[in-house]
C-alpha cells in the first residue's frame, strides 16, 4: 500500500542532490525555493517562540495568495512527477533490494526530473487548493524542521546499509556476478533472492533486503515484498534497468492513473489516498464532493468510514495527521 507519507519519506532526497538540481532549476523554481527557505526560517523562529502553528497558518495563507501565479506551473510539474515517480519508485525498490550501492543513482535519476520546488513535497496539494496547503505544511514542516537531522539519518542509513551489505559478501560467497546480472536486467528479483537465501545462512539472507518491512525509515512508496512473491507469472518479475517495462505495473498494483469519477489525472497525494477498504481510489476533490452528498464509496456503496485508513495510522502517524488537517481545512473553504 502506498501511503500519504510517501512525500515525507522523499523529502531528504532532493536536498542530498541539491547541486545537480539547481543547475536544472528554472527561474521561477529558484524564486520559489527562495521563498520557501524564507518561510522555513520564519516558521522555525515562530516555533521557537510559540511552539504553536496558529500564526503560521495565517502566514501560509498570505504566502499562497502572493504565489498564486506560480501555482499552475507547479501543479503541472507535480503531475509530471507523479507519472515519473509511479513506476519509478518501484524500479527504485528493486534496485535497492539487489544492490544498495545503486540507489543514489536511481534516486538521482528519478528525482532529478523534479525542479527544486518539489523539495517541498507538501505543496503538491497546494496546486489544487491554497487552504490545504498551509495546514498541510504545519505537519509537513515538522519533517523539514528537523531537516538536518533527517538528512544525517538518511545518509547514515545509506552508509550503514552499504556497509551491512558488503560485510557478509566477501567471505561467504562470490555473488558480484550475480548482482551484476540482476541489475543488468537479466535476473529476476525473487529468483535472485531465493538463490541467495538458499546459499546463505538466514541472517545473511535478511541482509540482502535494503529495508525490513517494519523499518520506520522504509519509504512508504515501496511495494510490499509479499506482493512480489504473490505474482502469478514469473515473467512479471523481470527487472529491466530502463524501468520502461514497469509501466505496466500500474495495472498490476491496481493504481489508476486518472480519477474514475472526474477523469482528471491523479497527483501523488491522490494516488496515495485510499479512502475505502474496498480499494476504490478517487481524487480528493471527488471524495470531498461525495462526503458532502451521500458519503458512500462509489466502488462498494458502503458509507465511508470516518477515519479513512486505520492501518495507516499505526504505520505513520504523521501521514494521518497531515491528511486530517487538510480535509478539515477543505471543509472550511467556501
Amino acid at each position: 500500500m502506498v501511503s500519504d507519507s510517501i512525500t515525507n519519506a522523499s523529502i531528504p532526497c532532493p536536498n542530498v542532490k541539491d547541486l545537480g538540481k539547481k543547475k536544472r532549476a528554472n527561474r521561477s523554481a529558484k524564486l520559489k525555493q527562495c521563498k520557501l527557505d524564507v518561510r522555513r526560517e520564519q516558521w522555525l523562529s515562530q516555533v521557537k517562540k510559540k511552539g504553536c502553528g496558529e500564526e503560521w497558518t495565517g502566514d501560509g495563507l498570505h504566502r499562497d495568495a502572493s504565489n498564486g501565479s506560480s501555482e499552475n506551473v507547479e501543479s503541472r510539474r507535480e503531475r509530471g512527477r507523479v507519472e515519473a515517480n509511479g513506476p519509478g519508485s518501484i524500479h527504485h525498490d528493486s534496485d535497492l533490494e539487489l544492490s544498495p550501492s545503486n540507489s543514489p543513482i536511481s534516486l538521482n535519476s528519478i528525482l532529478g526530473s523534479n525542479d527544486s520546488g518539489t523539495n517541498y513535497s507538501g505543496s503538491g496539494s497546494s496546486s489544487s487548493s491554497s487552504a490545504d496547503c498551509c495546514s498541510g505544511n504545519i505537519t509537513e514542516e515538522d519533517d523539514e524542521g528537523g531537516d538536518d537531522g533527517c538528512l544525517d539519518d538518511w545518509e547514515a542509513m545509506a552508509d550503514a546499509l552499504a556497509a551491512n551489505d558488503e560485510r557478509p559478501k566477501p567471505p561467504s560467497c562470490p555473488p558480484p556476478p550475480q548482482d551484476l546480472t540482476a541489475s543488468n536486467g537479466s535476473g529476476m528479483i525473487v529468483g535472485g533472492e531465493n538463490l541467495r537465501s538458499g546459499t546463505r545462512a538466514t541472517p545473511a539472507a535478511a541482509n540482502t533486503r535494503a529495508w525490513r518491512p517494519d523499518d520506520a525509515f522504509r519509504p512508504q512508496s515501496l511495494p510490499n515484498l509479499t506482493k512480489h512473491h504473490s505474482f502469478p507469472n514469473p515473467s512479471d518479475r523481470r527487472f529491466v534497468n530502463g524501468g520502461i517495462s514497469w509501466a505496466g505495473c500500474n495495472r498490476i498494483f491496481n493504481v489508476p492513473t486518472s480519477c474514475p469519477i472526474c477523469c482528471e489525472d491523479l497527483d501523488l497525494t491522490d494516488s496515495s489516498f485510499l479512502p475505502c477498504l474496498c480499494g476504490f481510489r478517487l481524487c480528493l476533490f471527488c471524495h470531498k464532493r461525495i462526503l458532502e452528498e451521500d458519503g458512500r464509496c462509489p466502488g462498494c456503496r458502503k458509507p465511508y468510514e470516518h477515519n479513512p485508513v486505520e492501518g495507516e495510522a499505526s504505520v505513520q502517524g504523521g501521514g494521518l495527521t497531515y491528511r486530517l488537517t487538510r480535509s478539515s481545512s477543505l471543509m472550511a473553504r467556501p
Binding site: P260, I261, C262, C263, E264, F280, C286, R289, I290, E293, R296, P298, G299, R301
Partner: protein, 194 residues
C-alpha cells in the same frame, strides 16, 4: 455544472467498443446534456432483434447524480412504462454510483430487458399480464418489438429531419412522433390528417 470532460471521455470510450457491446451513445444537439442511447434487444428474449432508443438527460450534478433515462422506443415490459417509457431501475435512482457510466447504466437497462422484475413494477398492467398470462405477455412484448423497435433504422432526429423536409413545422413533427411512439409513417399519417 456538468463535468463535460468526463462525458466526452465516456462518449469516446463507448464509441470504441460499439461493435462488441452494440451500445451507442450520441449527443443530441451540441451541449451534451441531452443524449440518445441505443441498445440492442437481448437475444433469447421477446426483445431480440429490436433496437431500443433511450433518451438520456444529464443532471447538473452528473456524475454525482444519476442520469435521467427514459425509453424513447415503446416497450412492453413490467419495469418500463408502456406509456411514458419511464424505467424502474435502482441504479438509476438510489443505487446510482458515480463510478457507473452511461455505458454501464445502459448495459444495466439491457439486462433489465432480459430479467424483468414483475414484483417491483413500473407498469402495473404489464406486470399483471406477466404474472397471470405469461404467454400473452411474451407475444405482446414480441409484437411491440416488431412494431416499434424495428420500424426503422433511423434515429428520432433523422425522422424529424425527414418530416421537416416534407414541409411540416418541427415542433408539430416532434409532438406527432412522440404521440405515435416514434414511427415516422404513423406520424406522417397523423400530420396529414390533422
Amino acid at each position: 455544472m456538468i463535468d463535460f470532460g468526463r462525458v466526452q471521455k465516456e462518449l469516446q470510450e463507448c464509441s470504441k467498443d460499439i461493435e462488441a457491446s452494440g451500445i451507442k451513445v450520441t449527443p443530441k444537439g451540441d451541449n451534451l446534456t441531452r443524449l440518445l442511447g441505443t441498445i440492442p434487444g437481448p437475444t433469447g428474449t421477446p426483445y431480440e432483434g429490436g433496437t431500443f432508443q433511450i433518451d438520456i438527460t444529464l443532471p447538473d450534478a452528473y456524475p454525482f447524480q444519476p442520469p435521467k433515462m427514459q425509453f424513447a422506443t415503446k416497450v412492453w415490459h413490467p419495469n418500463i412504462s408502456s406509456q411514458s417509457g419511464a424505467i424502474c431501475l435502482d441504479i438509476l435512482k438510489d443505487q446510482w454510483s458515480p463510478a457507473l457510466t452511461l455505458k454501464t447504466a445502459l448495459l444495466s437497462v439491457q439486462a433489465l430487458l432480459s430479467a424483468p422484475e414483475p414484483n417491483d413494477p413500473q407498469d402495473a398492467v404489464v406486470a399483471q399480464q406477466y404474472h397471470k398470462d405469461y404467454q400473452t405477455f411474451v407475444s405482446t412484448a414480441r409484437y411491440w418489438t416488431e412494431a416499434f423497435a424495428k420500424t426503422s433504422s433511423l434515429g428520432v432526429e433523422e425522422k424529424v429531419k425527414q418530416l421537416v423536409e416534407m414541409g411540416f413545422p418541427e415542433p408539430i413533427v416532434r409532438s406527432a412522433l412522440e404521440a405515435v411512439g416514434g414511427d415516422e409513417n404513423l406520424a406522417l399519417e397523423r400530420l396529414c390528417s390533422s
